[in-house]
C-alpha cells in the first residue's frame, strides 16, 4: 500500500484519552468514533483532517488505556497510517489488529513539520517528505505483525486457524 497526504503533527506521550475520551466509548461505530477523534486534545481537532491525511506523532504515541476504539477512531477520521517516534505497546498491537499500519521512525520524525505533504511507500518502509525533500526509511515490521497484516488483520488470522476462512 502507498499513501499520500498532508501531515498532522501531535506531540509526545499522546494518550488514548486524548485520542478518544472515555465518554465517547458508548459506541463501536468507526464513523461516530472518528467524529470525536482527538477531542481529548482539542475540541474539533478532527475538522482539519481530509481523507487520506497522515498522522505524525512524537514519543510513546497511544499510551494509556487498552481501548481499541483509539485506532478505530483514527481510521474513522480518515487517517490510514500513523508515523511516530515510538508507540505504546498495547496501541501498537491494536493498530495492526485493526488494519492501521504504524511506522516507527525514531528521531527523524522531528524533521516532519505540520502540513508537509508526505508520500509513503509501505513495502520499503519509506516516508517521503515532498515539501522538504527528504526520505526516512523505517526498520522492517516484526514478523508477528506482518503475519497479522498478511492475513488481513487478526480477525482473518483467527478465522483461518478456526478453519472458517
Amino acid at each position: 500500500m502507498n499513501y499520500k497526504g498532508k501531515a498532522h503533527r501531535v506531540g509526545d506521550h499522546i494518550d488514548t484519552d486524548a485520542i478518544i475520551p472515555a465518554r465517547f466509548l458508548v459506541t463501536t461505530d468507526a464513523v461516530k468514533l472518528g467524529e470525536n477523534c482527538f477531542a481529548g486534545l482539542e475540541p474539533g481537532w478532527v475538522k482539519r483532517v481530509r481523507k487520506g491525511d497522515i498522522l505524525v506523532a512524537g514519543r510513546n504515541f497511544g499510551c494509556g488505556s487498552s481501548r481499541e476504539h483509539a485506532p478505530i477512531a483514527i481510521l474513522g477520521a480518515g487517517m490510514p497510517v500513523v508515523i511516530a517516534h515510538s508507540f505504546a505497546r498495547i496501541f501498537y498491537r491494536n493498530a495492526f489488529n485493526m488494519g492501521l499500519p504504524l511506522m516507527e521512525a525514531g528521531d527523524e520524525t522531528a524533521n516532519i513539520q505540520d502540513g508537509d505533504e508526505l508520500e509513503i511507500v509501505a513495502r520499503e518502509g519509506r516516508i517521503r517528505d515532498l515539501t522538504r525533500g527528504f526520505d526516512i526509511v523505517c526498520p522492517p515490521l516484526p514478523e508477528s505483525m506482518s503475519a497479522v497484516l498478511n492475513a488481513g488483520g487478526l480477525v482473518g488470522h483467527v478465522r483461518k486457524r478456526l478453519g472458517k476462512a
Binding site: H13, D15, D17, A18, P21, A22, R23, L25, V26, T27, T28, G40, L41, E42, P43, R59, N60, C63, G64, S65, S66, R67, E68, H69, P71, S86, A88, R89, I90, R93, N94, N97, M98, P142, E143, S144, G153, L154, V155, H157, V158, R159, R161, L162, K164
Partner: protein, 420 residues
C-alpha cells in the same frame, strides 16, 4: 541459565523453550477478561472470526464496571449485548449490577487469579495481577476475542527491569508512593515493551493489597507487566480467598539477566503526588501544598481495597471535609463496601461529609459519578492524570495515596496527613 520471573512464568504456559528476551512464544491462557467498554468490541470481533464457542466458559470473565450503574442509554445498551453473550456462551463469571465491582479489585478478591497464572484482559490495568505473581497484561478487544476463541495468544518475551526498595518505611508512606516514585524516576515510557520486577526488603514486608496497587500502575511506565515474587504473603492471600495454596516457589533466579536495576531507599521519604498531566510528573507533597482542590476521589482499581478504605478513614476520623470540596468515596467491590459498613468506616466517611458511592470505575476515566468542570482540580487515588481524563479539558488531576487524598479533602488543598 538464570531466568527472570517473567521468563519463568511465560515458560509455564508455553510448549516452546523460553530462551531469550524478544523471542515470540505462543502461550496458553489461564484467564481472559473484558469489561463493559471493551467486551462489546471483543464480541463483535469474536463473531467476525466466526467462532462458535469460547475456549472455556470458566476462564472468561466479563465485568460491567466502567459505566456502572449504567450512565445513559448507550452504555446500558452495551451491557445488554454483553449480558446476551454471557448467557449464550454460559459464561460462569459474569458480573453486573449488585455483583459487580471494579474488575482489578474484584478478580483477586474472588480468587479468580493467582500466582503463576497468565492473564490477558481488554483493560490496560490488567497488569494489577502481577501483585500476586501472575503474568497479566492488557490488550485490545480483538486480541481478547482471539484469546476467548483459542485459549492462547502470542507474546514477545519482554526484557525485565528490576526495581528494589530498601530502608525503613516512614509512617505515612504507602504502596502508591513507591510506584509513583518509580514512574517519576523512569518516566511514562521508561519501561516501554518491558516487564518490571519488584523486590527488596520493603517489598517482602508489603501486604498483597499494596503489591496490587503497585502492579496496577506498571502500565503508567509503559510496562507490559509488573511482577512480584510469590511468597508466604501471597500464599496466605490465596488460601483466604478459597484458592489452593500454590505448591511452587516463584521468584527470579539469582543473577537473572536484568536489562537495568533501579533502587530506592525509602528512609525519610515524604508522600508524593503525580501532578498534571502525566503520571511521571511526581513531586513531594510539600512542594505543591498550596494548590486548592475542589474534588477528591478515593477508590478505583489502584486504591479502592479495604486497606485503602482503612487508611482514608484513619485520616478522616473526627475531621470534616473542607466545604469547597466534594469528597467521593467509592469502595471497589461489594465485599469491600460491606466490610467498610461492618467496621464503621462508612459512618466515619459520612460524618466527615463525604459522598459514599457505588462500586464503579466511574470518575477515574471521566465516565460519571464525579466529573470535573472547567478549571476544577482533583486529588484522586486513581492511576491516570492525562489532560481531560476526569472531565473538562481545563481540569486537573493530582494522583496520590488514600492518606494524601483524605488529608487534601480536609484541608481543601493538596496536603499530606503530616500537615493536619
Amino acid at each position: 541459565m538464570s531466568k527472570t520471573l517473567t521468563q519463568k512464568i511465560l515458560q509455564k504456559h508455553s510448549d516452546e523453550a523460553v530462551e531469550r528476551d524478544g523471542q515470540i512464544v505462543q502461550c496458553r491462557l489461564s484467564l481472559v477478561l473484558a469489561n463493559d467498554i471493551t467486551a462489546p468490541l471483543a464480541i463483535k470481533s469474536f463473531r467476525e472470526m466466526r467462532a462458535d464457542r469460547v475456549f472455556d466458559r470458566d476462564k472468561i470473565v466479563l465485568v460491567m464496571d466502567h459505566f456502572t450503574p449504567q450512565k445513559d442509554i448507550d452504555s446500558a445498551n452495551q451491557v445488554l449485548g454483553c449480558r446476551a453473550f454471557a448467557r449464550e456462551q454460559n459464561i460462569t463469571h459474569y458480573y453486573e449490577g449488585g455483583s459487580c465491582g471494579v474488575e482489578h479489585a474484584l478478580l483477586p478478591e474472588q480468587g479468580l487469579v493467582g500466582p503463576g497464572d497468565l492473564v490477558i484482559g481488554a483493560d490496560s490495568h490488567t497488569c494489577t495481577y502481577g501483585g500476586l505473581g501472575a503474568f497479566a497484561t492488557g490488550m485490545g478487544s480483538t486480541d481478547i476475542a482471539a484469546g476467548m476463541a483459542l485459549g492462547e495468544t502470542w507474546l514477545k518475551v519482554p526484557p525485565a527491569i528490576r526495581v528494589n526498595y530498601a530502608g525503613v518505611m516512614p509512617e505515612w508512606l504507602g504502596a502508591k508512593d513507591l510506584i509513583l516514585m518509580l514512574i517519576g524516576e523512569i518516566g511514562v515510557d521508561g519501561a516501554l515493551y518491558r516487564a518490571l520486577e519488584f523486590g527488596g526488603p520493603v517489598i517482602d514486608a508489603l501486604p498483597v493489597e499494596g503489591r496490587l496497587t503497585m502492579a496496577n500502575m506498571a502500565i503508567e511506565a509503559g510496562a507490559k507487566a509488573g511482577l512480584f515474587p510469590v511468597d508466604e504473603r501471597t500464599r496466605a492471600y490465596c488460601v483466604e480467598r478459597g484458592r489452593p495454596a500454590p505448591d511452587f516457589v516463584l521468584a527470579a533466579d539469582d543473577g537473572a539477566p536484568y536489562e537495568r536495576i533501579v533502587s530506592f531507599d525509602v528512609t525519610g521519604r515524604e508522600p508524593v503526588v503525580a501532578c498534571p498531566h502525566l503520571p511521571s510528573n511526581v513531586k513531594p507533597v510539600s512542594e505543591v501544598a498550596d494548590t486548592p482542590v475542589q474534588q477528591v476521589i478515593i477508590g478505583s482499581c489502584t486504591n479502592g481495597r479495604i486497606s485503602d478504605m482503612r487508611d482514608a478513614a484513619l485520616v478522616l476520623r473526627s475531621r470534616k471535609v473542607d466545604k469547597n470540596v466534594r469528597c467521593i468515596v467509592l469502595p471497589s467491590t461489594p465485599a469491600v463496601w460491606k466490610q467498610c459498613l461492618r467496621e464503621g468506616l462508612l459512618e466515619i466517611f459520612m460524618d466527615a461529609g463525604c459522598i459514599v458511592g457505588p462500586c464503579t470505575c466511574g470518575p477515574c476515566l471521566g465516565g460519571h459519578m464525579g466529573i470535573l468542570g472547567d478549571g476544577e482540580r482533583a486529588v484522586a487515588t486513581t492511576n491516570r492524570n492525562f489532560k481531560g481524563r476526569m472531565g473538562s479539558l481545563d481540569s486537573e488531576v493530582y494522583l496520590a495515596s488514600p492518606v494524601v487524598a483524605a488529608a487534601s479533602a480536609v484541608l481543601g488543598r493538596v496536603a499530606g496527613p503530616g500537615q493536619l
